[in-house]
């Protein structure tokens, strides 16, 4: 019997190649997408689960309420960890982690640099020696108990060790950190999994961090507010997080600096939640769970569209198979036997689709990995669960897609089935089929509307005036890629005179239009500082953004002075006592743009801060990303914190200009690696998760429409075939080709219109929720949604009218002969 079923299934597939192709292609595409997203979601959910003690690891986070609103930080200050460890016996271990970019050099036995042994490490981390007790970073060489216990020691990952030393044993070798501090290799760690929120290539002992920041060491070791690093705690077994958290407010009051001890709060975030549920001011990729939800929804919707196709095509075709069912029943088949047969056929088709989808996934994965910056793969050592999940998707699809047709077809009474079956079948099946088509198109329209609005928002953000020049601006880090310049090597007088000479040399090239130095780059966020403006009560310090900039910053970035003046070398004292504030700051302090000029202001505290006068007010510009509103901001000339050159160049011959800048750089800073970025690209990278979403949702929208249209094509071809006689009769009675086309198209137009009616409110709600995350966003007007609906309608009608015209042109005598 089984053989009989399989034979019939295969022969039918071969006989109706078009139907089989549409069905299998649609299902395969839907399954492939669902599987890819499943891989993506599985990867997202696997973050940090590789740590053996993951359920006991927590990250110490801080919330500060300094200027009215709460700011939440994933990073905390240096001195917190040791005090925390001492205060809570329930804590088994505490580790501090600080990552940055750093230059390294491999030294030979004579402590001389090895040729070609200079590297710029993007993931250079400093950690306490407890790092191996808290996390599961297995060492291939060295002893994890002592590896980072000694000062100036360093652990490399397998990959980095191989990069530095080839196949030679790296243990005991010396590396030079930032060209100054020697470090001894004391361990080699296994490469870290991709799904890890802590990701180092080099792990140095924590003392190195303080060592290279001697001048700031006092501040760093005592200040509890400035949080540059991550603090992780490992709780003892059986200790409840809440038990510790209850005591943290008291802990902060007792130990933090008195001026803000009651303005900061600590809490513990579970390691397992870090990747998915982080919403912190200083987190680069916040709230991955949002995208897990969005993508999962898209995956399910796409699979549903493909399944609906299958259901629709199968039930539409059932009238062709009705006679067969009738014969089988007349010969004594039970309903269950018919169900098994048709379910079996669905499984055969789904299996074919699944095999094709696996091939499709393999084909698509490289592109998807590039888009998502992951290393997703179907076949890995740990992929048993993934493969099981995929099998689940297959079974689910086969069952979902096969169930309905099987039960509908098997329900046919033999007498009706023998007569052609369509009579009693049309009423219920037809209505359901129409509902499914509506659902399918509604999903497609939601995805299209989503795609239009996401890409609209992306275009808007790209074109939104940020208030400063961003095109053709090259940024060159002076020390290393690091936002927190306070931890960089401080600018010395000697270095300052060299940067000045470098700037002068660049200015000799007419293609270099302007050059300046600053502590951070516009658009990339800033450091927060406390200020004390004239006429404001001393009790509550005001915290605002702070940019340290060179004299020509305003001119280089084309910032607009609203009142007063820019910084000027000619004045001679601007680096000691001049401030420029933005409109928002003037407003915050209760000043007007004009009376602000000349007011006195203090940045920082009485001992280490700077007292001065506001010399100018500039128009607001976007210091941070467009997710945030513009905040009050203060600029002054503080060369010790400079970290970046910004070089505005002429658009012509960029290559030549960059080569010139690099030559000049090597002349003035032979010990420092030259690296550069284009500011506009850096700014765009801040919206990478949105770009990702935009790309993915566009792809899926196209796919959903494609699958829906294939389904529609199949469905329409069956409908027109069934109405052949009706068309013939109408033509004999005098209907024109146009009348017939209208007749056939009208049915589907109504369906798509209903779909539009259902989809648009859903799309509006969904995109509205998504846009809420942006401080600056488009207001999607009805036009965007109408465009989505109109596009779908046009594509659907195009699909159907082709068939309709063909049916309408047929000779009516021929049409009638079929009966």
């Amino acid at each position: 019997m089984l053989k009989n079923y399989v034979l019939v299934a295969l022969r039918i597939l071969l006989k109706q190649k078009g139907y089989a192709a549409i069905n299998i292609a649609g299902l395969a595409a839907g399954m492939a997408c669902c599987c890819v997203i499943f891989l993506y979601v599985a990867d997202e959910l696997s973050y940090d689960r590789y740590h053996e003690r993951v359920d006991r690891i927590y990250r110490l986070t801080m919330t500060s309420r300094l200027s009215g609103s709460d700011r939440r930080f994933s990073r905390t200050a240096l001195p917190v960890a040791p005090v925390l460890a001492a205060a809570f016996p329930e804590i088994e271990a505490v580790v501090r982690l600080y990552g940055r970019s750093a230059g390294t050099q491999v030294l030979n036995g004579d402590a001389k640099p090895v040729l070609g042994g200079r590297f710029q490490e993007e993931r250079f981390f400093f950690a306490d020696s407890t790092v191996f007790r808290v996390f599961s970073f297995p060492l291939l060489k060295g002893d994890s108990a002592t590896a980072l216990a000694q000062p100036n020691s360093v652990v490399l990952t397998e990959e980095t060790a191989h990069k530095y030393f080839g196949d030679a044993d790296p243990m005991g070798h010396t590396l030079l950190f930032e060209g100054t501090h020697p470090m001894k290799v004391t361990g080699v760690a296994r490469n870290l999994p991709d799904a890890s929120c802590v990701h180092f290539d080099v792990l140095a002992s924590f003392d190195m961090l303080v060592l290279e920041n001697q001048s700031a060491a006092n501040f760093l070791n005592t200040d509890w507010l400035f949080g540059p690093l991550y603090t992780f705690v490992l709780l003892r077994e059986g200790v409840d997080r809440k038990h510790i958290e209850q005591q943290l407010p008291d802990f902060a009051r007792r130990h933090a600096n008195p001026q803000y001890a009651d303005k900061i709060r600590f809490s513990l975030q579970s390691m397992a939640d870090i990747h998915l549920y982080s919403e912190y001011t200083d987190e680069e990729h916040p709230n991955a769970i949002t995208y897990v939800y969005i993508f999962s929804t898209i995956a399910i919707l796409t699979l549903m569209v493909a399944c609906i196709n299958f259901i629709n095509l199968s039930t539409a075709r059932s009238f062709v198979r009705a006679r067969e069912v009738g014969v089988r029943k007349a010969l004594g088949a039970h309903r269950s036997q018919i169900v098994v047969q048709f379910l079996g056929e669905a499984f055969v088709i789904a299996l074919a689709a699944f095999i094709i989808s696996i091939a499709l996934i393999e084909l698509l994965l490289p592109g998807i990995n590039e888009l998502t910056e992951k290393h997703l793969s179907l076949f890995r050592q740990d992929s048993a669960a993934v493969l099981l999940g995929l099998a689940g998707i297959f079974l689910f699809t086969a069952f979902l897609a096969g169930c309905y047709p099987a039960f509908v077809i098997s329900r046919l009474r033999p007498i009706a089935a023998l007569r052609g079956g369509a009579v009693e079948h049309r009423a219920s099946g037809g209505r359901l089929r129409r509902m499914l088509v509506v659902a399918q198109f509604a999903i497609s329209i939601v995805l299209i509307a989503g795609a239009i609005i996401v890409s609209g928002q992306m275009t808007y953000m790209r074109s939104l005036p940020l208030g400063f020049y961003r095109d053709h601006v090259l940024t060159v880090p002076l020390f290393s890629e690091d936002l927190l310049t306070i931890l960089g090597t401080p600018m010395t007088t000697e270095l300052r005179s060299r940067t000045n000479a470098f700037e002068e040399a660049l200015h000799r090239n007419p293609r270099v239009e302007a050059i300046t130095l600053s502590s951070v780059l516009p658009g990339n966020g800033s450091v927060i500082t406390s200020v004390l403006p004239e006429g404001v009560s001393h009790d509550i310090p005001i915290f605002i953004s702070w940019l340290s900039v060179d004299y020509d910053f305003v001119q280089t970035y084309g910032l607009q002075i609203l009142s007063g003046r820019s910084f000027s070398r000619q004045v001679g004292t601007d680096h000691l006592q001049a401030f420029i504030i933005n409109e928002a700051a003037a407003k915050e302090f209760g000043w007007t743009i004009h009376n602000a000029v000349g007011k006195r202001l203090r940045r920082g505290d009485a001992q280490t801060g700077k007292d001065g006068v506001v010399v100018g007010v500039i128009r607001d510009f976007h210091v941070a990303s467009l997710h945030e509103r513009i905040r009050p901001m203060l600029m002054d000339v503080e060369p010790t914190t400079f970290a970046y050159f910004s070089i505005r160049v002429h658009s012509g011959d960029l290559h030549g200009t960059i080569a010139f800048i690099e030559r000049t750089w090597k002349e003035f800073f032979p010990n420092r690696i030259f690296e550069y970025h284009f500011l506009n690209r850096q700014l765009e990278s801040m919206y990478r998760s949105e770009e990702k979403l935009s790309g993915i949702i566009q792809g899926f929208a196209l796919l959903a429409v494609f699958i829906s249209c294939m389904g529609l094509l199949g469905l329409a071809s069956f409908t027109t075939a069934r109405r052949t006689k009706e068309i013939g009769v109408r033509k004999i009675l005098g209907a024109s080709v146009w009348n017939i086309v209208l007749l056939l198209v009208a049915e589907y137009t109504v369906l798509v219109l209903v779909a539009i009616g259902i989809a648009l409110p859903v799309a509006w709600w969904g995109t509205y929720r998504w846009l809420e995350a942006f401080a600056y966003r488009i207001e999607p007007g009805p036009g965007m949604f109408i465009a989505a609906g109109a596009a779908t309608l046009a594509i659907a009608l195009l699909t159907v009218s082709w068939l309709s015209v063909r049916a309408a042109l047929r000779n009516p005598a021929q049409a009638l002969r079929y009966e």
Partner: protein, 231 residues
């Protein structure tokens, strides 16, 4: 073998109620050859379907092989159908995707007959109907007459008590029609009861008895002369 009393069949749609059969009383003996005649739409096919247990009556009694079957569920009827009733249709109703052999084999599959016995019985049936040489062909590759032979082979392979034939010659030319009638007559001679719906008075003469149906009623019944003579 079959006994029908006061049988009524009503088709209902939302607005119209049509009485297809009314007050039908009919007895069919084992081994009998019965022809049902009447104009299009008179209800003869409905009657045949009820006799073949692929449709159920609205009222009345229906005894089949000693069982009252009028209230049987589809599942029960299906169980009774297989093995007891063979069907031959006007439009052959072979399954296009199955070969001649597989089509004939199908009823045996539903009867859970063993593979070796299936092979034997299908082979015998095909040989009996002289189409063994076509066993690997698909229905569309055969002439109408050959297709109907396959249909008859499929009807006899399960060794039914009765074969129901719904205008078995309707789609055939006279030569093929004659052949099919000869086949049915031969089958009847070997003991299988046959109930046949036909428009052809000539072919109806092959039966023992002819029942005339008009507007859902049996309006007449006559024994065929040659049969009377033979008796």
């Amino acid at each position: 073998m079959i006994s029908i009393r006061n049988l009524k069949k009503i088709y209902r749609t939302e607005e119209v109620e049509t009485t297809a059969l009314d007050n039908i009383n009919l007895d069919i003996k084992e081994g009998e050859f019965l022809a049902i005649m009447g104009p299009s739409g008179c209800g003869k096919s409905t009657l045949l379907n009820i006799l073949g247990l692929i449709d159920s009556p609205s009222h009345g009694e229906h005894h089949f092989l000693g069982q009252e079957v009028s209230k049987f569920s589809e599942r029960q009827r299906a169980g009774l159908r297989k093995g007891s009733i063979g069907f031959v249709f006007q439009s052959f109703n072979l399954i296009d995707e199955l070969t001649v052999y597989e089509n004939v084999e199908l009823p045996l599959l539903y009867m859970d007959v063993s593979a070796s016995e299936r092979k034997e019985r299908v082979g015998a049936a095909l040989e009996q109907l002289e189409i063994l040489h076509r066993k690997s062909h698909f229905p569309q590759q055969l002439s109408g007459g050959q297709q109907q032979r396959v249909a008859v082979a499929r009807a006899v392979v399960s060794r039914p008590k009765v074969i129901l034939a719904d205008e078995p010659t309707g789609n055939l030319d006279s030569k093929n029609g004659d052949e099919v009638m000869n086949l049915l007559t031969d089958l009847n001679r070997s003991g299988t009861a046959i109930i046949m719906v036909t428009h052809s008075a000539a072919y109806a003469e092959c039966a023992h008895r002819i029942v005339h149906v008009l507007d859902g009623h049996i309006v007449g019944e006559n024994m065929v002369k040659h049969h009377l003579a033979m008796n």
